[in-house]
């Protein structure tokens, strides 16, 4: 798509290094970790101030130029992909972090601040922003908020939404909104801030945020358990819910996932005997005596076949790598088709029985790599491309699998996207989770804020 000359002329009013048409830049900034889409961006814009963003969005609106907001581009649903000649608006130069407010336990940061940098910044005050996942070294605050990111400690802390007090947002017409400041309580009409959290960049561009912080967790224990079935994982989860501690994370993975991790990085679970399912359990402030009794009970009742407790921080890190390294190893050793589904926790057991039966019956020869958070109802269903199939054939066949899987998800009142969002990848399936009436209201909201439909076009709706 050729950009309108008047739009390009207007860019002359900005610093010379703000736009870039370098081919390598366009390829890099035009795509995210989803990998299945071919990027085709026509221009990269890297503003330094909210005023830059406002003026740029206004220009896009006036000249009807499609614009894709871009953070760390670690998304897995194609939400940050520019494949139709759009302009990419990267927030990476806006990464300033203000000093922490230790009394209010808040920090104001720009949207381009990298998640891990925020963690390090606030840890100096003994504080923690509990939005934490494997891609934290690249993901940015703005993207985390725009996708209402989840991760490994949702069971303890909830989603990103719970940890955002205030937002500065630029609407697609260039209006700058200051929403909620640093207020914990503010019951004054419709909370517009919540509209933008998880909207995947279709309603506005987040430029700054006031983050809510909490104390760093103390005395954390990390366990790895071997379990013999998916139903066994759920039984162990039930036991963990009643354990003498606060559950920080409850993650599981199958032997298929660990085999990929071993192939890629030579890492494997530290047990004598291999097992079909593994669980990483992280707990805070376990009561020592009661913990022993709880662990003995696990073995007496046969809830686990083996287990280990990290003896030091290095072992804790190594146990976590067995789970957190999976996504990267799947991509490094093959082409995974990813699904990220959520079920009400009470329906997980029945759903898993049906899912396993469906996959065994219809796709017996496909390699299924199952892992996930489970403690918050979230399963990552990864299907690996068989060697014999071409990429195109594979993508076509996965569409059939998705339809079958999502029908089961719908029957159990689940979600087709637990934490990755809808983006481009899950668009065909949005109707399995949201009603036509809901979708109608979403479209009306979009039209109010973005009358020309220039912001992140084609995503979600």
């Amino acid at each position: 798509m050729a950009l309108p000359p008047a739009f390009l002329e207007a860019l002359a009013a900005f610093p010379a290094d703000l736009p870039s048409t370098d081919a390598a830049d366009l390829a890099r900034y035009g795509t995210d970790w989803t990998k299945v889409y071919t990027p085709n961006a026509s221009l990269l814009l890297r503003p330094r101030t909210t005023d830059d963003v406002s003026r740029l969005l206004k220009l896009c609106h006036i000249h009807r130029v499609g614009v894709v907001p871009s953070g760390g581009r670690t998304g897995l649903a194609g939400g940050a992909v520019a494949m139709n000649g759009e302009v990419v608006l990267s927030l990476e130069r806006m990464r300033a972090m203000h000093p922490v407010d230790p009394l209010g336990q808040t920090v104001r940061v720009q949207a381009g601040a990298v998640t891990e940098a925020v963690h390090q910044h606030v840890a100096e005050q003994g504080l923690f922003w509990p939005v934490d996942f494997a891609s934290k070294g690249s993901s940015q605050v703005g993207g985390n908020i725009a996708t209402n990111a989840g991760g490994i400690r949702v069971i303890r802390y909830g989603l990103t939404r719970q940890w955002v007090l205030g937002l500065q947002v630029v609407t697609p017409t260039g209006l700058v909104l200051e929403l909620n400041g640093a207020l914990e309580k503010n019951n004054t009409g419709v909370d517009l801030r919540q509209l933008f959290i998880g909207s995947e960049g279709i309603l506005g561009v987040i430029t700054e945020a006031t983050l809510k912080l909490t104390r760093l967790p103390e005395k954390v224990d990390v366990f790895l358990f071997a379990v013999d079935s998916l139903q066994g994982v759920l039984r162990l989860f039930e036991a963990a819910r009643q354990g003498p501690f606060t559950v920080m994370a409850f993650e599981f993975f199958t032997d298929k996932c660990s085999a990929r991790l071993e192939k890629h990085r030579g890492l494997r679970p530290p047990f004598e005997q291999p097992s079909s399912h593994y669980v990483v359990l992280e707990v805070e402030q376990a009561k020592p005596g009661a913990l022993d009794a709880w662990l003995s009970m696990l073995f007496e009742k046969g809830l686990v076949t083996d287990g280990t407790l990290a003896a030091d921080l290095g072992q804790a890190k190594a146990l976590w790598t067995l789970r957190e390294g999976i996504s990267e190893s799947l991509s490094a050793t093959g082409l995974p088709h990813k699904n990220d589904i959520a079920l009400p926790i009470s329906r997980l057991s029945a759903f898993c029985v049906e899912l396993e039966a469906l996959l065994a019956e219809r796709y017996a020869d496909w390699e299924l790599c199952l892992f996930g958070h489970i403690g918050d109802g979230n399963l990552h269903v990864n299907i690996m491309k068989p060697e014999a199939l071409s990429k195109a054939e594979f993508l076509e066949r996965t569409h059939e699998v998705d339809r079958d899987v999502f029908a089961v998800v719908q029957a159990h009142a689940g979600s087709v996207s637990a934490e990755h969002g809808i983006g481009l990848l899950k668009k065909p399936w949005l109707g399995y989770t949201r009603s036509p009436t809901e979708l109608g209201i979403m479209r009306q909201l979009k039209a109010v804020l973005d009358p020309h439909g220039v912001l992140n076009p084609g995503k979600v709706l």
Partner: protein, 268 residues
């Protein structure tokens, strides 16, 4: 022939913790630090367990310090599989001569065939105790025990001991790391061996092992009951951080980089 092996388990600061020197420059700030077993000692325990798994026998683990060292004796040491523990209860300053003297007295009573110690501890990096102990007992010593196979090899996966017992049970063969290569020595028993990082990959303590460890025998002794005077001969006078690295700079282009490499760094 069953082997009786004595191993050590020093409690050290967890290297993943942030270590800070105290304002007086006399030691490190202990508040908020996490602790673990010295990784070289963990390797010593693993090797002892592999040897007794093959030949039968007993592994006795020793630690010196206040009551907090019992934590490392129970897990990972006993939890990994050591049979029993001896805790030398001592609070206060000590140095390597005092530590070696305690171990000597314990060896004279326990009469192990082999002592395996970490070649050094990761906290003070002194690396003296193994040699003092061998000297005090008049035993042969095999320092820096390593092995020919890599840590990814089948031999490592099968958990075969790298220290090999001779057929008559009177000596051990030890592969040592020397500058640029390996040296194989035979040492007459009783002997003291110290471990390199490449000797083995220690197992994780299993949960059943951790629970069983809570009831394994743990004997408490003191330097006084062993007849050892712990008055140090060495005191730490000063501790400092290494100088902070200067921040990097960005150069404009390749010629500017070449210029800096040539005229400032003199690297080319």
């Amino acid at each position: 022939m069953p082997l009786k092996i004595l191993v050590t388990a020093k409690r050290v600061e967890d290297s993943e913790s942030k270590i800070k020197v105290n304002p007086a420059g006399t030691g490190i700030v202990l508040e908020g630090l996490k602790f673990k077993i010295n990784p070289f000692d963990e390797i010593a325990i693993e090797e002892a367990l592999r040897l007794t798994a093959k030949h039968g026998g007993e592994v006795v683990v020793v630690s010196i310090g206040g009551k907090e060292v019992v934590e490392q004796l129970r897990s990972p040491a006993l939890a990994m599989g050591a049979n029993r523990a001896i805790w030398v209860n001592h609070v206060g300053p000590m140095d390597q001569l005092g530590i070696a003297a305690c171990l000597q007295k314990i060896c004279e009573k326990e009469k192990p065939d082999l002592c395996i110690l970490g070649k050094q501890a990761i906290d003070d990096d002194q690396g003296q105790v193994g040699s003092y102990l061998a000297e005090a007992l008049g035993w042969s010593q095999a320092t820096f025990a390593s092995k020919e196979e890599s840590l990814e090899s089948e031999a490592e996966k099968s958990k075969a001991p790298a220290i090999k017992l001779s057929a008559d049970g009177k000596s051990v063969t030890v592969v040592r790391e020397v500058d640029g290569g390996l040296q194989t020595i035979e040492a007459t028993l009783p002997a003291v061996a110290t471990t390199e990082l490449r000797l083995n990959q220690p197992r994780y303590a299993s949960l059943p092992g951790i629970m069983k460890a809570k009831t394994k025998p743990l004997e408490e002794v003191t330097p006084a009951s062993l007849g050892v005077d712990m008055t140090p001969h060495i005191t730490v006078v000063k501790m400092t951080h290494p100088p902070a690295r200067k921040a990097g700079i960005k150069v404009a282009d390749v010629p500017a980089l070449m210029d800096k490499l040539k005229n400032e760094a003199r690297a080319i």
